[in-house]
Symmetry: C2
């Protein structure tokens, strides 16, 4: 199980994020105010988000956005993350493909989510915000935000999807160690939660519902802003640090990826790894394939419709032009809680519509088979979300074996699964079919 | 929460382990065969351990032992581990002390245990062994051995202390993902287990009991060797990679530690971080203090007696000259399962007897207070075992604050606590007093 790890020195950690909006051949359509049906303005967004994030959200001109020095310092605590040649996995698959993964699981929180949490918490603090709210599924984002809030001296309130709160109690505990207030959603603490529970007392929660609650709390709490772990443009912007590092690290390998894969919930990890590479496709210089791996039980990219829809269940957010299953879609209780979201980011939706990327859907059983194979071959137990990217990578690698084709595959290992072992238990016991 | 991380390049990862036995002013007394009361020979040890580990165990002459190339390659997957200046913790304590920690939690298994698991599994494979057995407390060692066995193509059977098996189900699942057979101990699968359960049907297990079971299984299984996660000289030898790296990394800081601290179960993490530095005390070149932090509920170093005792509950092991609470001592069910052991390694015991090191005992509540403070200041949730080292470091740092003394403190963060969150839950709920 020899691996080969490619690392950057601290001064090679990117100093700017890549804003793909500046380069997109067709820009995303505007978000709309649901009352007026007019394009949402920065001012509108500032009622919810901190000003800098609101500005980044709508910025379609600046290709490079500077990473603040204090955020870069915090990045340096765990970045660069390793780019790893997965010899063990290649051998296990008997494939001529060269498989690389970008290992975001080494962050102290165990996933890529910290890349944006640090940025959002930093900007909030700079702007005099005292409290932040958010929602979380599996808890990866909630843990990251709790951590970042603690570091920058903010109070954090997190609504965690009820089924994940119960399935993954350790992530709740992590958030609490970092001082966050964690509430299972839907809850009786908000109007949105009460309305849902009145209609459906046994509602298991969803990201859409939790977003409604977190947004409402931010709206009614002075000094409080809402933060988000995926979907929005500025979140994906912060995650481009992944792809920018990976680009430099791939140069060190002497290879260039033929296909790049990320699991897909709202799009931030997928966009993070792919967007910096995609700009070379826009320019015609490269012809890389980009594959989003989504769960078969929540297939917005492969089976959803491109239309204006709310980002949350209660309809508090602007209308987003995106692939969606409908904002009242109730995803089944798969273990990859971070992928249980009805919609997709507007940038990614536009790119998919315009043929710059592909999507595949993965059954839960296939995802855990892939995760176990990867763990045994590479020694890292992946998060259930990341298992979807691995499964898609394995499909590609098997195809290479069939065609005897030595393609170069890169995927993002978005997080480790050490806190998701109950899910692996279920799989090993044969309870995931 | 600015940190400063000191890293070595891959070619600076040590090529040799440091064998402190070669330099000890007074060598450890021999282990004895309990029947004959004669010194245990390498041949005796080989009935249980692979030949190379047996040889290393008794080697009192070679100062440097080469790390096999394949083990070094596996080390390179996660080493060097960061040496971190803990500015956040210093600030939180208002201390003039400079606090550094060696972060072994970044290994894919989450603790330092992999350093020896890889070596032991490698040697077993080289010698034609097909199966390995071991015991584990909290599961850190068992997870590491399961991982290493999978990598080198061995079958692993792990006896996990029953109370930890129940308190920390995720570590059992991790071992199972890596293909190990995990049995809660005491079990009915061995004579030793049956005897204990017959006398005490509700026995919660202890490392001493689990060792008896693993040793017995190794003895009755053809092609099977026993492996151990701490206590023995060869295990601590493999862990010296920690201190050897730390020595080079401390050079990069321009400082030299005044005091070095490790938590203490059997001694491998403590010896791993301290022994390479201790050689400079032997030579008179330095006068560093070395502090072992043990749990108040299992205080072999601070309250045990130095005498010959068995390493396990049933009396299967040789007699070891060590500080012990008696091999039938029943430690209370603290969360730091890795520290629930009645004895101490023979090298460390001799060093303590001869005044080359100190020991302190830490109450469980103090350990978790320290762990939470550290998590909030440095962003890493420490394993309950590591919390003991942190607590001892905090005591030192507070003393520095009182005396306005800028001492340099180094401690080993032996592992992260992401799989021990149930323990933090108990602490946050006020149930640990």
């Amino acid at each position: 199980m020899r691996q080969k790890k490619f690392m950057l020195s601290e001064d090679q950690i990117p100093k700017q994020w890549y804003n793909i909006q500046a380069d997109m051949p067709v820009k995303p359509q505007p978000m709309l105010n649901p009352q007026t049906r007019e394009a949402v303005t920065q001012e509108d967004l500032e009622s919810l988000f901190c000003a800098e994030c609101a500005a980044q959200e709508l910025n379609q001109t600046d290709r490079w956005i500077e990473i603040p020095e204090q955020v870069r310092q915090m990045y340096a605590n765990y970045r660069c993350t390793p780019l790893v040649r997965a010899y063990g996995l290649e051998e296990a698959l008997g494939t001529p493909a060269h498989i690389y993964f970008k290992n975001e699981s080494v962050s102290p929180i165990g996933s890529h989510k910290l890349n944006s949490a640090l940025a959002q918490a930093y900007y909030c603090k700079q702007e005099g915000v005292t409290n932040v709210t958010t929602e979380t599924g599996a808890g990866q984002w909630g843990a990251a935000l709790s951590y970042a809030a603690k570091i920058f001296g903010l109070e954090a309130a997190v609504y965690q999807v009820k089924i994940s709160y119960e399935q993954k109690p350790y992530r709740k505990s992590i958030m609490q160690v970092f001082g966050a207030l964690v509430t299972p959603s839907p809850s009786m603490s908000t109007r949105a939660g009460k309305d849902i529970l009145t209609k459906m007392p046994n509602h298991q929660g969803s990201l859409g519902t939790a977003i409604s609650e977190a947004v409402e709390l931010a709206r009614v709490t002075p000094g409080c802003k809402y933060t988000l772990g995926s979907v929005m443009n500025h979140v994906t912007l912060h995650q481009t640090v992944i792809g920018l590092e990976a680009e430099k690290q791939m140069e060190m390998t002497g290879e260039y990826p033929d296909v790049i894969i990320g699991c897909f919930g709202g799009g931030s990890n997928f966009g993070g790894i792919t967007f910096p590479f995609m700009r070379h496709n826009f320019s015609g210089e490269r012809n890389t394939r980009f594959v989003a791996a989504e769960p078969a039980s929540c297939p917005k990219l492969t089976q959803g419709r491109f239309e204006y829809d709310f980002g949350d269940e209660a309809g508090y957010t602007p209308l987003l032009p995106m692939f969606t299953l409908g904002h009242d879609f109730q995803p089944s209780n798969i273990h990859a809680g971070g992928l249980r979201y009805h919609g997709a980011g507007t940038i990614v939706s536009q790119l998919l519509k315009d043929g710059y990327m592909e999507a595949v859907d993965i059954e839960q059983k296939e995802s855990f088979e892939a995760g176990c194979l990867f763990a045994r071959a590479e020694g890292i137990i992946p998060a259930p979300e990341s298992c979807h990217a691995i499964a898609a990578a394995i499909r590609e690698a098997k195809q290479c074996a069939q065609n005897n084709e030595a393609r170069t595959i890169l995927f993002c290992l978005s997080g480790h699964g050490l806190i998701d072992m109950a899910a692996y238990d279920q799989f090993l016991a044969g309870n995931i079919r």
